[in-house]
Amino acid sequence: MSGFEPAISNPVEYIQHHLTNLSLGGKPESIADFSVIHLDVMIVSIVLAGIFAYFAKKIGSNIDPDNPGPIQNAAEMVVEFVDQQVQDIFPSADKMVGPVAITLFVWIIMMNAMDLIPVDLIPGLVAGVYGLFGGDPHHAYFKVVPTTNLDTTFGLALSVFVLIIYYNIKSKGLGGWLKGFFFHPFVAQGTGGKIALAVPNLLMTLIEEIAKPVSLGLRLFGNMFAGELLFLLIALMAFSVWAMPGQVILGSMWAIFHILVITLQAFVFMLLTIVYLSLASQTHDDH
């Protein structure tokens, strides 16, 4: 690990280094560059998904209805909590909504929780390993928190968006769903009024629908990115010995507060998903 320079030597570079992904295909050229894939995001999220899947399998195949062990109790608590939310918000939910909700909730919590790992630990290890193999540690990038990446949050939000469209078509039919774009939210009585309001209605409904995945994705991304950035700024305080206690205190406080953000953002994402799917399943007569 000797190739390391102290972070404080160049704060801007330090932060930029930490905000750069380990990518395959170079740096993204445009706003949407599908020739690039962020390996660190994929590795961390797949490992976390694997851990989740492993425990799900382990718990699911050892269910003891009469004498639940501690792991099963904990899992039952989460399942019951999510199921309760689904029952409350979306009583006519089909069998897909619950699993989608619990997967979002648990997986987002796990990905967000990567924020609590000390900001330099894993990038440092990666840089060390990279250096051992003869690489330049300055070019060993690794962003640990998958949810500080727009791809992850929009991947989830777009999956939810696909489900919203699916539930819309399922409940209203393709024609009924498209018709809804022209006759809501402004309702006119006469034919002339209907024609006049069709374009504003279309614009309003399009914005309303597109705002759903965008707000879902940006809310999670914004919260986690800001949290990550704050951890990095606190880490910068290690520039001298007398600032160390301040770093420890601030870092601890922010980490404790961030536990709340981690779970809250996962919960909000899950809850809004259920709400959106519930809205999508309503027929126009319900309004």
Partner: protein, 156 residues
């Protein structure tokens, strides 16, 4: 901040994860929890029913006990009646038997008396004949005087 192919990768991972979690944990766990809920409800209902049954059984037992007591009293009364009847019967039979034994004894006594009298009479006839022989100094032909002797014996 850019959108990259990672987006598609994350969507795929999410889809697979949802499918996997649904199959291995969500459905079996909800099924187990619902089964448990049902079993608890059934158990509570069974306990409630058991209490009611116990109450009913207790009432029934009390009823049976009262019935048995009444029956026992009836049986005792009947037995007492029958006992006094038997005693009466026995008393009657004993009186009758005693009367019969007494009658038989009386008849026997009568018979003995008659027999003794007959014997005596016969002896008296013999004595009378022998007495008359002595008086007359000669033998009396018993056959010749049989009628006279019988008359004499009958008078005794």
């Amino acid at each position: 901040m850019n959108i990259t192919a990672t987006l598609i990768g994350q969507m795929l991972v999410f889809m697979v994860l949802v499918w996997f979690v649904k199959g291995v944990m969500w459905e079996p766990m909800l099924a187990a929890m619902n089964a448990r809920k049902e079993r608890i409800a059934d158990g509570l209902a069974a306990a409630e029913k058991g209490l009611q049954d116990e109450e009913l059984a207790r009432e029934k037992a009390l009823e049976e006990l009262n019935k048995a007591k009444t029956e026992a009293a009836e049986i005792i009364a009947q037995a007492q009646k029958r006992a006094s009847e038997i005693v009466e019967e026995a008393k009657g039979a004993a009186t009758e038997e005693a009367g019969r034994v007494k009658a038989a004894a009386d008849a026997e006594i009568e018979q003995e008396v008659t027999r003794a009298r007959e014997g005596l009479r016969a002896q008296v006839a013999t004595l009378a004949v022998s007495g008359a022989e002595k008086i007359l100094g000669r033998e009396i032909d018993a056959k010749a005087h049989a009628k006279a002797l019988d008359d004499l014996a009958a008078q005794i």
